[in-house]
Assembly symmetry: C2
Amino acid sequence: MSRPLNDHEAIRQQLMDAAEEMVRTRGAINLSLTEVAAACGMSQSSFYRYFSSKEAFFEAIAGRWFEELNQIMEDVVASDLPPREKLFEFVARRVAVKRARFEADPNLFRANMDLGEEHWEVIRGYVDLADHYMAVILGEAMAEGCFPGYDLDHVVSLTNLVMQPFCNPFVMMDMIRTATPANLRIVVNTLFDGLGAAQAIQGAQNVTPLRAIS
Amino acid sequence: MSRPLNDHEAIRQQLMDAAEEMVRTRGAINLSLTEVAAACGMSQSSFYRYFSSKEAFFEAIAGRWFEELNQIMEDVVASDLPPREKLFEFVARRVAVKRARFEADPNLFRANMDLGEEHWEVIRGYVDLADHYMAVILGEAMAEGCFPGYDLDHVVSLTNLVMQPFCNPFVMMDMIRTATPANLRIVVNTLFDGLGAAQAIQGAQNVTPLRAIS
């Protein structure tokens, strides 16, 4: 097989496709680079002309998985939507992409999630990036007076707690029937209207909360 | 080994202990009744004097696991706490038990969760029972005017969505650092103060919500 030299990126994609097909059919455990290379009619030493290491290969696969999701995050954060709407879009648009991928091929989706767990050191950066962007949005909300009485780290952590069925793909798969856009809208509104509401009432109007706790 | 005939329940417990020890050391997959019986110096046919079927055995193991958790649910539902406090206690007391079990032996806890997934038909009844009790508590809250604009099924389903790190043991294990009693208190308050808050403001005072969404 002779290929033009500038075909480098196409061959990289082909090797990643081959790995995806193996993960789809056999699961994520112990994916062998030798077999991935062989599936593309290539020796393992040729493989290393396209990816410098096994880690570089998994980083490229993760990069392909997260590319669209990261673009969504950047677009939403850069938009001039109000913070409440930003948070909704930030989660809703990405969960729609993940849902579509899951529904297109549930086995592949599950296998990719297992691959991610196996290579958590590669995935962690993407999770941290999502937390960072979420913190930017929640920080904008706090600058407008939302979540009185809480610091930003705590608000990020509470948002992650209540959003698991929309952010954690394993929970999403289990709750596909109730983790809907309409329910996400309600959860976002509940968070914005409810988190710190008692403090706000007490602070601003100096009245006791409606429902005092014994 | 001669045992008094009235020792029936003690031998049942011993067989369940043997199964637990196997699950702890080898995981939940393909637990063999023959081996469980052998571990107690018993033939498989003797085993069936104590449990009528494999299903009956797993039901007894599940019954032992859920006994304390069900007792907590019954106690909290029967108490005269206000609904918000009931919901907190309903979740907090059970998550404390599950957390203690997890921390006492993480491998056994994980293996038991896998056993439950493998025998979901046995576990489903317990999950449905928890949903039923939760619905009783949330129904009491609604009778007091909480969650305006929502029906009970929807409130139960939304509560389950936002409570996953406290109700779903797999998520609990992943979020052990942030799924704390203090954060549960905040989530419960956020739900009571926030779910339906916009509707309540609009309905009662005929004003637009503070933060209109474009």
